[in-house]
């Protein structure tokens, strides 16, 4: 699903990523860990083309997205779900409208949109919050809405950049459990985090970055 080959990302004189290679198979659940500045966010941003590699190949679903034409970037992003630390919800829209936003732009019928949105809300356990605004929800609930939005288009890949960064331990655990359920539906999940407790609890594959380099890649690993 995701292949990185000798990826380098350089900002002026500083390397954010240096010769990173990795391979994530379809259906895997992978934690990307490391301290702040290790290069996690840069790697995640590269996957949805918010950043371009300075050198190397980034393959998503077999396509080298490093050479992707800028016009095709929205297509790439629609093929994956993205979850952010700060949720990135439209505060003026209801939960329903937030989740439906992207699929509405694709010309899908309102009947199908409704079915998809409520299906996604069911997965995150927020069917009764469809008419609420994000400001009326707790942080954990807002992140669950953000997960619902990420999965509403049925993507084969979901990437979550520090999804529990703004949450307390209880909400963090709930959010991670939802991501695990999503993974059980066959969706590949890549989560960047520096939350030891979560990584150690779930015992998934753990890729560790340090100073822009991959230093460890362990199946059923922990975060030391």
């Amino acid at each position: 699903m995701i292949v990185l080959r000798d990826v380098i990302k350089q900002y002026k004189n500083k390397f954010a990523l240096y010769n990173v290679s990795l391979h994530i198979n379809p259906g895997e659940f992978v934690f990307l860990v490391g301290s702040s500045g290790a290069g996690k966010s840069t790697l995640m941003k590269m996957l949805y083309m918010e950043e371009k590699p300075t050198r190397g190949q980034v393959l998503v679903g077999g396509i080298n997205i490093a050479n992707l034409h800028p016009n095709k970037i929205p297509n790439l992003r629609r093929c994956m779900g993205i979850v952010f630390q700060d949720y990135k919800l439209l505060q003026s829209h209801t939960v329903y409208d937030n989740i439906a936003y992207v699929i509405r732009t694709m010309g899908i019928s309102s009947k199908e949109i409704e079915a998809r949105v409520f299906g996604a809300l069911k997965v995150v356990g927020l069917e009764d919050k469809a008419k609420s605004r994000p400001s009326e929800l707790s942080g954990g609930e807002q992140q669950r809405v953000s997960i619902a939005r990420a999965i509403v288009n049925g993507p084969p890949l979901l990437i979550a950049d520090e999804p529990t960064g703004n949450l307390d331990p209880k909400n963090s655990m709930e959010v991670m459990q939802i991501l695990e359920q999503v993974n059980q539906r066959g969706i590949t999940i890549l989560v960047s985090t520096h939350d030891h407790a979560i990584v150690n609890h779930f015992r998934k594959r753990v890729i560790t970055l340090e100073n822009g380099q991959k230093i460890k890649d362990v199946q059923a690993g922990t975060y030391d």
């Binding site: 929205p74 992207v102 732009t105 010309g107």
Partner: protein
């Protein structure tokens, strides 16, 4: 059967006649329209009103000046039609062959002959003349299609045999031509200035819209909303401002047009049949095209999509 179920059945019937791809496109177009309306509503009534009236004022100035130029052009054309070149013939001149030769010259509309006897009798009727021999020559009156062709025609006529002299109301023709040129230049300048003002106003407005919706647009972009789906409502918003401004400007322009029509009727100057429609169409097109252009420029500058 309830109204709701009748409506649903009708909806299904209509849908069944539309190919699936079209339905998708129609839904997308509908969503873009909704986004555009939302954008206008979010901008606020007072700002919308300010933008539309500013646009209307600019387009009104353009429309009135354009209309004035069209009337002046009519006047100039009419004068060009009435202005004649007088060609004075030598006493031994072959009138018929000279008429034939003049008619061959390009841009000559008509040639008429006035004998020296007729001229002398007319003159004697107007002024008391002493009893002398008729000193006047035979004259040909040459009508030209356009005033600007008078000079070259006169040059050609002078080259013909048996021509004593030529003449026409040169001063008047030149003055009218200058006024016509000035009015055309003013229209062009006003059009350029109006276009720039339209673009600037819409550019700044859309910049404000983009600033106020920056976060929303950023989220849309990250979620994979197409670039053109983000851009389209902003371009349409600009175009709608231009269109509404133009519609508002058309009302006083029509009143001005009525005065022009009355003036044309009074002086018996024919006006282009399409003048009214041309001015209205130009104002609307200018409003819409330059407003959409202003939006596009703003999007290009302030929106990294």
């Amino acid at each position: 059967m309830t109204n709701g179920s009748t409506r649903n059945r009708l909806k299904q019937k209509v849908k069944s006649h539309i190919p699936k791809d079209w339905l998708t496109e129609i839904r997308i177009a509908y969503r873009i329209l909704i986004e555009t309306i939302k954008g206008i509503v979010q901008t606020g009534f007072v700002i919308n009103l300010a933008i539309i009236t500013s646009m209307a004022a600019i387009l009104l100035i353009f429309g009135v000046i354009f209309r004035t130029t069209l009337s002046l052009s009519s006047l100039v054309d009419e004068m060009g039609g009435t202005l004649e070149i007088s060609v004075y013939l030598e006493p031994q001149a072959d009138v018929n062959s000279t008429i034939k030769n003049i008619k061959k010259i390009k841009h000559v509309k008509n040639v008429s002959f006035i004998s020296k006897d007729k001229s002398w009798n007319d003159l004697k009727r107007e002024i008391e003349m002493p009893d002398i021999d008729n000193p006047l020559p035979d004259v040909l009156r040459v009508k030209v299609d356009n005033m600007k062709n008078i000079d070259p025609i006169m040059t050609d006529v002078k080259k013909l045999p048996d021509i004593q002299d030529t003449g026409y109301a040169k001063d008047l023709a030149q003055k009218v031509e200058v006024v016509n040129k000035i009015s055309h230049t003013i229209t062009l300048v006003v059009m350029i200035v109006s276009s720039l003002l339209t673009i600037t106003i819409i550019n700044n407005t859309i910049q404000l819209v983009i600033q106020s919706r920056k976060e929303e647009i950023e989220i849309m972009r990250l979620m994979g909303v197409s670039n053109w789906y983000i851009k389209c409502p902003l371009v349409l918003q600009g175009a709608i401002y231009g269109f509404l401004g133009a519609l508002l400007a058309v009302i006083p322009i029509n009143i001005v047009q009525k005065y022009f029509q009355a003036m044309h009727a009074h002086f018996s100057i024919p006006v282009f049949g399409y003048a009214q429609g041309l001015v209205v169409l130009s104002v609307i097109l200018m409003g819409v095209i330059f407003s959409a252009g202003g939006s596009l420029m703003s999007i290009k500058k302030h929106l990294q999509v």
